[in-house]
Amino acid sequence: MPAEPDATVELCAIDAFAPEIYRVAAAQQELHDTVTLELVPENGARPVFAPGQFNMLYAFGVGEAAISMSGDPTAGGGYVHTVRNVGAVSAAISGLKAGDQIGVRGPFGAGWPVAEAEGSDVVFAAGGLGLAPLRPAIYQVLKHRERYGRVAILFGTRSPGDMLYRQELESWRQRLDIEVDVTVDHADAEWHGNVGVVTGLVRRATFDPADTVAMVCGPEVMMRFTAAALGDTGLAAGSIYLSMERNMKCAIGLCGHCQFGPDFICKDGPVMAYDRIAEIFALREV
């Protein structure tokens, strides 16, 4: 006799696949190709999320994309997502205006080790749009600044004109209790900041490698070199966390699109300890 289907599993799967309807409360153009959207639910309150988690955003009639939260998890209101226009779905999402509707599934995935880092120094290393998924964790650490040792925010981006959250970076830089260092890969002589890659910032940041948690987010090449630079300082691979990016579809570890060795990025990540993934991370076929 065939086994009875597990009704609980089936129900969860159905719920996880059904988008909730949200409305764009505000849309702010960050860069020429990047927009930050505040999304509020049409019904009820938005679910609680952890820094580093993501939602599946559904542009009706176009498709879904996995986008990390970029807002303060403890703030009221809706979800905040920062989206760069790099394809059909992200173009549709980033083209939304206040009042437009969007489908949202989530939150999904494992987040940054914000609580686990309490008592330690913290290094945030972001590259380009990678600052967006780190921003909720930065908000959390700054909100409870007294619980952490030294805090460094290291940010590398393409050029001064591509600098995400520039005003916020400037306001963080004015604080006396954190170190904020910014560099760009390309600049002309009008730019008065650093020029060079973000790994150069790692080498001169102040932290105790024996007691530091590093959270890294950016293009995969940038994360590979940044993890190596952090390792060169003596920081253990298990204290380095990366936010991985793969083609996510179901977001609950069923479809296998985001399989990464033995893990699924959507379910076991996107934030993963470097010691867990270092071997596979180095394989160009994966």
Binding site: G128, L129, G130, D162, D188, W191, N194, V195, P219, M222
Partner: protein
């Protein structure tokens, strides 16, 4: 006032050299102060002196006619400006310009090359200081060329 050999001993770049070697190098050293905007050297100049930044920031720039100078890299405290003094034709291939008030130790290249020729152990140790720096710079340049943030 602190002598040059004492200053040199405190520079992380020379930390692995023996005290005798540090004294030898200090014989080729002198203090510099550059105002913001002042050039340490210009493209095409003879590479007869290199610099270790003690304070401030230096931009390495390349100029194309009719265009704003492109900044290749910026260097700060304890970083070394220039390696072209090591190899013929001993000529700078870019401009080095102080972005802020910059204090630096300048090392007379001909003087140091002479001491390295006379003392191959010193020459070898200098190469061991400069090669890792050059490899790091090469890796950084490779990353910049990848333009990793484009479309991400």
């Amino acid at each position: 006032m602190e002598g040059l050999d004492a200053i040199l001993r405190k520079l992380p770049f020379f930390a692995d050299l023996t005290p005798d070697q540090q004294v030898l190098i200090s014989g080729c050293a002198r203090n510099h102060r550059f105002d913001a905007g002042q050039y340490l050297f210009r493209e095409g100049d003879a590479a007869d002196e290199f610099f270790i930044v003690r304070h401030g920031q230096v931009a390495l720039e390349i100029v194309a006619p009719g265009r704003t100078p492109r900044v290749i890299s910026t260097l700060g405290e304890d970083e070394v400006v220039g390696a072209a003094w090591l190899v013929p034709p001993y000529r700078w291939m870019y401009d080095a310009r102080a972005r802020t008030l910059t204090r630096a130790i300048g090392i007379d290249a001909a003087c140091l090359r002479g001491k390295c020729d006379a003392d191959p152990a010193l020459g070898y140790d200098m190469m061991k200081l400069f090669l890792p720096m050059l490899v790091k710079q090469l890796h950084s340049t490779q990353l910049q060329l990848l333009d990793v943030y484009m479309g991400h």
